[in-house]
Structure formats: C-alpha cells, structure tokens
Amino acid sequence: MSETTGEHQLNYEPVLTVTNLTKHYQVGSRFSGGIKQVQALRGVSFVLEKRKTLAIVGESGCGKSTLAKALMSLETPTSGSFDLGSLVKNQGKLSTRDRLAAQRRYIQMIFQDPYSSLNPRKKAWQIIAEPIIINNDKNLTKPEIKKLAIELMGKVGLRSEFAERYPHMFSGGQRQRIGIARALGLHPQILICDEPVSALDVSIQSQVLNLLIELQESLNLSLIFISHDLGVVRFIADEVIVMYLGRVVEKAPVKTLFENPSHPYTQALLASAPKLGILKPKTPDANISSAVIQEHPHGAPQTTISSILGELPSPFVILPGCSFAPRCPRATALCSSAQPELITITGPTPNVHTHEVACHHTNG
C-alpha cells in the first residue's frame, strides 16, 4: 500500500480533482422559526488518483455523504468545482442531460443500505441492466443487455440462475453485490462507495471488501470510500481524509494517518474506536487459529475506553475559529478566534501524498 516517493510521482495520474467544494443547505421555513443555513461542505479539496482508494472518514453530519452526492451531481454545489480531467471531454458544450450521462459513465456509486437501494419490483438482472438501458448508445437489443447483466453478476460472484430473482430473495451481502454489479455496468473509472459494508454482518463484510479490491485491481478502478469504520479504512485505503463539520481537518497517506495522527480530532477518533488488541494474546492453537492480534499503536494498555467530551456542535452556528475547539483538549484562545488552514507537514510535492493538518497546535 505504501510505496516509495519516486514511484508515486511516476504513477501520478489524477482522475478527479476537487477544488474548494462548498455546499450550503437552506432549511426550515419562514413559519417555523426562520430559514437557517447548514454549511454541509466548507471548502473541500482533494485529488483522486487512478487505481487508488481515497477514504473519507468522519462522524455523522461531517459532510461526507453530501460530498458523495455533490460528486454524483445529485446536489449542485454552492461554490467550487470538481474536474474529471481527461475522462469527460468537452464538458462545457454539452446539454445538462448529455453532460450528466457522460459523467455517469465515469462515476458510479454504491449505497449504504442494500435493502432500500434496490427496486423491490424488479428482478436482479433488470436492476443491473437499468444503467445500461439508459445509456444504450450502442443500440443493444434486450437479450444482449440481459446477457451483459448476467455477465456482470458473474463478475461480482452471483450465480447466473439468480438473475430472475427479486431483491427480497437475496441476503444483505448478495444485495450489495447486485448494487456493485449495477455500478459496474457502464465501466466507470471512479466508484463512490458510501458506507458499502456498514449494514452487513462481519463475516459478509470481508467478502464484499475483498470483492471491491479484486474489482479495483482487475478494472483499474479508483475508489472514494466513505466510512466511519477505521479498521475498514485502514485495510482498504491508500489515502485518508478526515472531515469534521464540513471541513477537511487532516489528509494523509493511510500509514501516516494511523501511525502519526496529528489533528486532535483524528487522535480522538482513533482512541475512541473499540479495539480488540487491548488484551494480550495467549498462545493460540497453531493448527486452527491464525488470528494475529496486534497491539494498536494508540491503544490504551488496559480496558479503558478513551473518550472525548461533548458532541458535534450544531451545524447551524459556525464558530469563527476551529470547529473542533469546543471539544479539543489542546484548544487555546487562538483556536476560538482564527480558523486554521490545512498546512502541509510532510510530503514530496504539493497535493500529492502529503500529510496535511488544519490545526494551530500541530506541534504542540
């Protein structure tokens, strides 16, 4: 997962460049206490590279799903832009409909809930075929499309005899596979995975994660992986963005982030995650058990759950300073008056595999 710097620059091939993306929502009405503004995204920038996985981590309300929706053009950003680079050509000259159609061929999305994201009245193959039917520029006939859909089912590990089944006849893991097959139908370059395994059982979770990695390797996919599960992120990601109240507070290659988290919020997240490694392993049965229990680098030595105080503040009231200041153990007067910008701590070239932190007290 971590390569040397030289290799990185050699292979540097951005497929998506997001610049200063901002999304504000108007909520409420004049009759229910006035219109309020939620700043769901406050200037998010990053670069996604070909064949890499960028994970977006944060608690509910931090804007990670809004970001996914904005990238899918399901929401119009208030300001800022994202650039699909060479993937979508002549973007400006197309009508909205054609531009969206072109965009959909390059970015597809897998949703969190495999139960509500599939149409219960359609058969598995029809669900998978839907994007192909909508984007049918090769004028494929119905049997040809069905054949494609069944091929896709094979790709994600579903047997072809399942094609005529309805969603309720599948388990959660199988449904998520249908969702993945549907997303792959248009040969996208980028797959946005919004909490793709959080609704699944642990034993099924690993099957789906393995499938995503296999597909990424065989189809040269770039993944945006939204998750709150740090174990999953550590396993799948190349680079990680930590978000808090619509802002990126830390961005780093996965190894750096887990071994040297620099923002107090990242540190708190890592400390709060329940860890298996806190109990020392006894000698396992070598024949059966290959469980390697690792001492977590940030793990407390005993069963103590470290927790940070307080909760996510109201997104309606944006404080002038650092959003995390009210919960931060290191906060000073500076933190509540001035907003810290993302500053590169380490890294070879700007924007590529750098470790960036938005904190006034990074070295404190």
């Binding site: 690993s206 099957q207 708190a268 329940p274 006894k282 390697v292 759950i305």
Partner: protein, 348 residues
C-alpha cells in the same frame, strides 16, 4: 461460574443473578406442523457486577435470548422452554418463564431493565423527557411522589447519566436531543427502577464512534457503582474486547463458544469464532502484502433450512463426515471456556 453446567451450588456465598438453562424458542409457521427453532438450548449465567456479552451475526438469536428473559417474545413465537432462574432483590429465586404476566410486570424495570439499539425510536416523540422519565420513576416507586419530588429525582437521574444542564433538558422533546443524548435518557429511564440486571441490546450501534466511547464508559461506570449485572448484546467484537468479562458467541440459535473475554478473543477454539476474528479488517493489517481479508464463505443458514449435524459445518474449513452427521455439544475446554465443536473435542 461454570457456563457448561450452570447448576448453582447452594453453598456458594454469591448466587448468580441469572441462570439460563436449556432455553429454546420456536416460531410457528403458516405451514401446519412446521416450527422454526430460533433458540436451541441456550445456557448462560450472569453474576452481579459482571458484563456478559452475547455476540453474533444478525439472526443468530442474540436479541431473542434477551427478549425471552424479559418475557417479551414476539406474538408468533411459541412458549419458550427451559428455565430462567432469577435472584430477586429480596433474595427470592424465581423462574421467569413460568411466572404469570402480572408477576413478570413487577420485575420488569425494577429487577431487569432493558435498553435498545435505536434511542430515537425507543422514546415517545410526543412527550417531553420530563414526562417519560417521571413516569418511569413513579411507576417504580412504592409511594406516590409529589411533582417537585419527581422533578428532583428526574434531574438527579439525568445528572447521573452525564447530561449537562439536566434541569433544562427535562423540557426537551426527543427530536431536540442528539443520538447520544437520547441514549443517555433511555439509560436514565431504564435505571429508574434501580434494576439488578441491565440488558443492553446493541446500545451503541446507531451512534458515532466518539459518542459510542462515551456511552460505553458511562455503562461501565454505572455498572460498577450499582454492582449491576450487564448483558451486552453486540455484533462488534471491538466492543466485546472493551467491555466483556464473559463472552457467549452465538450462531444459528446456539451458543457455539463461551468463556472469559481473554479466552474467547485470544484463544478462540470454535472455527466460527476464529473466522469471525480473522475477518475483521483491524486484525488483518499485520499482513501487509496480502491485500485480502479472510472471509467466511456462504451465509448464515435460514431457520427453515437448518443443515444437518453441526450448524456451522457448511461454512467450516475443518468439516468432516462427523460434523455432517453428529450434533456437537458445548464441551468444556478449561474451567470456564467451552466450545461446540468436534475438533476441539478431539473427535476429528
């Protein structure tokens, strides 16, 4: 505390609070004569000040076990069989499954209380925190309390679960509370009757990780100060590692492995427990070259189509003909560590 043969010895100074033996629960189906066995001979013991975790995937029967203890099984379920012995506050031993509903009602909340996964839907959206909390306090009080007394107790109860500015929060409606706050209110309501056992069914699954840490710490502190028994139902092995004294791993309605947290998590003996631990990404990170997770093939069997023999054998790496034919028993490995597997029994 022997989980394999949980006959409490009469001479021991501390009797277990709760002793479940051979608890089985079936569901009737629309087909006549066909019943689905959701729980098969579940046995577990809970002592005072002890956290007992029930861990397993969805549909394994972990929630049903707790509902059976509370006498809250779904209406389409047949009457559970087996015994659930409970030691009440006035040191009477009662068998919960044969207790009439009227008696059971007196125990709920006062002796055994429960909190659920989704705090938002567990609270009534139409009433304030004060109304719901005071209702619970009055229900469990032997005397009629005045409005000011109730209010004082409610404020103290909210304070005890770490809610800032409790007097102001009393006026709030559930929608005005965050997920973490709602779960704290639920805990305050559950503890209003000062129960000896608290059953927490996935109490933090709906919460963010920093809030989860806060709630788990709160539960742990409350348990220690009140010497409560805590039955924690979860699918998250990380939570088990942080919280559990004793762990029961369930699969397809059976306990397949039980033991201390250290034994089960670091010396797992049942292939299912081992596979579950191995499929966790957090553990796999040591294998940097191999970018694949170990996974358990297949899915949990449907209750209507239970496999023969060992329930796990269709997904097991070590299965033999013995596993297909015979039903393994939960056999002790060491004093309180037991597994339901022919391999650990040495029959393979």
């Amino acid at each position: 505390m022997n989980n394999v043969n949980p006959k409490p010895a009469a001479t021991t100074p501390q009797q277990p609070l709760l002793t479940i033996e051979d608890l089985s629960l079936s569901f009737e189906t629309s087909q006549k004569g066909v019943v689905l066995e959701a729980l098969q001979k579940v046995a577990l013991v809970v002592n005072a000040s002890q956290t007992v975790c029930i861990v397993g995937e969805s549909g394994c029967g972990k929630s049903l076990t707790s509902l059976a203890i509370m006498g809250l099984t779904p209406t389409n379920a047949l009457k559970p069989t087996g015994t659930v012995w409970f030691q009440t506050k006035d040191n009477k031993r009662v068998e919960l499954l044969s207790l009439p509903e009227r008696e059971l009602r007196k125990l709920r909340g006062r002796e055994i209380a429960m909190i659920f996964q989704d705090p938002m839907t567990s609270l009534n959206p139409a009433f304030t925190v004060e109304f719901q909390l005071c209702e619970a306090i009055q229900t469990h009080s032997n005397v009629k309390l005045s409005k000011t007394q109730l209010r004082e107790k409610a404020i103290a109860a909210l304070d005890a679960v770490g809610i800032p500015a409790p007097a102001d929060r009393l006026k709030a409606y559930p929608f005005q509370l965050s997920g973490g706050m709602s779960q704290r209110v639920m805990i305050a309501i559950a503890l209003a009757g000062d129960p000896k056992i608290l059953i927490a069914d996935e109490p933090t699954t709906a919460l963010d990780v920093t809030i989860q840490a806060q709630i788990l710490t709160l539960l742990k502190n409350l348990q220690t100060s009140r010497k409560m028994g805590l039955i924690l139902i979860t699918h998250d092995l990380g939570v088990v590692a942080e919280m559990a004294d004793f762990v029961n791993v369930m699969y397809a309605g059976q306990i397949v492995e039980s033991g201390s947290a250290a034994d089960v998590l670091h010396n797992p003996r049942h292939p299912y427990t081992q596979a579950l631990l191995n499929s966790l990404p957090a553990l796999q990170m040591t294998k940097t070259n191999e970018r694949r997770l170990e996974s358990i093939p297949g899915v949990v069997p449907h209750l209507a189509a239970r496999p023969s023999g060992c329930q796990f054998h269709p997904r097991c790496l070590y299965k033999t003909t013995v596993c297909v034919a015979g039903h393994p028993a939960l056999k002790a490995i060491s004093n309180d560590h037991a597994a339901r597997c022919f391999k650990t029994e040495g029959k393979l």
